[in-house]
Symmetry: C2
Subunit: 205 residues, 2 copies
DNA sequence: TAGATTGTTAATCGATTAACAATC
DNA sequence: TAGATTGTTAATCGATTAACAATC
C-alpha cells in the first residue's frame, strides 16, 4: 500500500494496541491474535486487522501476530522507539505528579525540564530536576531542542504559557488545564481533563 | 423528538460544550452562537446545533444561545447539576494531585473518601481527608452509597482494586493506571493515560 | 425590514463490520 | 491435512456536513 494519508482516528488507536501488547508481553505471551487484542480492548478484530494493514503485513495466517515484533513496529510507526525530552510548565500538584509519574518510563518520554512562575518554587528540586523560571522557557526549550511540552498551570495562565511555548518552537502540547487553547495549525494539542470523562459517565447514571 | 437513544459520541461532546460555555461566562458574555462555540472548540457549527437538538430547542433564531440557560440545561442532561461523591483509591503522587485538584470544583464532583493499602499512609491526612485502608472499600463505599470511583494505583494492582470497587457497587470508574481493565458491562469505565495522547502526537513529529 | 442564526432535512463522507479467499 | 487466522474486498452503517426555510 502506498503512503496515502492514514486517518487520524486510526493513529489514535495505535497507542492502545501498543499498551495491550505490552500487557501481553508482561503476561509472558509470545503471540497474539486480532481477536484476543479486540477482546481485551473492546474493539472488533476486523478493525484491528484493518488498522494494522495501513502500515504493513505484520501477521501470519493461522498463527497471529508475534507480540515482540508487532510492538517494535508500532513503536517505530509512532516514533517512540526513542525517548523524547518533554518540557513541563507548572510545578503544582499536577506538575509534581507528572514528574514522579512512573507511566512514562519505557514508553518514549522523559521530563527533561520544569518551569514555574512562583519565586518560592524556582530553584527548588522535584525529583532531581531544578525548577526554572517561566522567563527561561524560550531560551531553554530552543537550546535543548525540545518539541513536546505539558501545560499544568491554572486555567487563566494556560493560554499565555502556551503562546510562549509555541514561540519557543514546541510542536506538540499536552494540556492539563481544564480549558481550550488556541494554537497555530502546525501545533498539535491534546487535552487531559478528568471531568470530561466523568461527566460523560454521569449521563448514564 | 422522542427519547430515542442518543449516540454515545454525542454525549461525549457535551462536556466540551459545557466547558466552553463556562469559559464564555467567565469572559462576561451572555449569549453565544453555534459558530462561536465551534470556532472555539474546533467543531463545525452544524454539528453543535445537531447535537443540542437531540435534547431540545435551546436557541433562538437570529440571536443564538443564552449561555447561562444552555449551561444549566447541559448540566441537567449530564446530571452534574448536583455534586457526586467520588471514591479515590491510591494516595501516591497521582492520588495526591487528584485530591488537591481544583478542576473538580463546581463541575459536579467531590472526592469524598480516599483509600490506600500502604500501612504508612493509612491514617494520614490529605487535604482534610483521612486515608483509609483498602480493606474498608466495600464497607465504606456501600455505606456512603458512592457510585463513582477513581483508580490511581500501580498497574499491577489496578484490576484487583477495580474488582473490589465493582463488588462495592461502583458504577463508573475513571482509571489512571496505564492498563486496560475488565469490568461487567453495567459498569462504565474511562481511561486517563497521558502517554496515549503523547504517542498520538509523536506520530506527526 | 434586513440581517443573523437556529432548527431540520437531505446529501455526502468516512468508518466499521461482515465475509471469505489465501495461506500458514 | 485440518484448523486457525490473516489480509482484503464489498456491504453496511452511522456520523458529519451542506444547505436552506423558518423565525427571531
Amino acid at each position: 500500500m502506498p503512503a496515502t494519508t492514514i486517518p487520524d482516528i486510526v493513529i489514535g488507536r495505535l497507542p492502545l494496541y501498543l499498551r495491550a501488547l505490552t500487557q501481553f508481553e508482561i503476561s509472558g505471551n509470545k503471540v497474539t491474535s486480532s481477536h484476543e487484542m479486540g477482546e481485551y480492548l473492546g474493539i472488533s478484530s476486523a478493525q484491528i486487522r484493518k488498522d494494522l494493514l495501513h502500515f504493513g503485513e505484520f501477521g501470519k495466517q493461522g498463527t497471529g501476530y508475534n507480540i515482540r515484533y508487532l510492538k517494535k513496529q508500532l513503536e517505530i510507526i509512532l516514533r517512540v522507539n526513542q525517548e523524547w525530552d518533554v518540557a513541563l510548565v507548572g510545578a503544582g500538584g499536577v506538575g509534581n505528579a507528572i514528574v514522579n509519574y512512573a507511566g512514562f518510563r519505557g514508553r518514549g518520554f522523559r521530563i527533561a525540564v520544569v518551569f514555574d512562575n512562583d519565586p518560592a518554587k524556582i530553584g527548588q528540586k522535584i525529583n532531581e530536576l531544578i525548577i526554572l523560571s517561566t522567563d527561561q522557557i524560550k531560551i531553554k526549550v530552543s537550546k535543548m531542542k525540545i518539541r513536546i511540552a505539558m501545560v499544568a498551570v491554572p486555567s487563566d495562565e494556560a493560554q499565555t504559557v502556551t503562546n510562549t511555548l509555541v514561540e519557543a518552537g514546541i510542536e506538540s502540547i499536552l494540556n492539563y488545564a481544564p480549558t481550550s487553547l488556541t494554537v497555530p495549525s502546525k501545533v498539535r494539542i491534546q487535552h487531559i481533563d478528568p471531568v470530561v470523562g466523568l461527566q460523560h459517565m454521569t449521563y448514564y447514571l
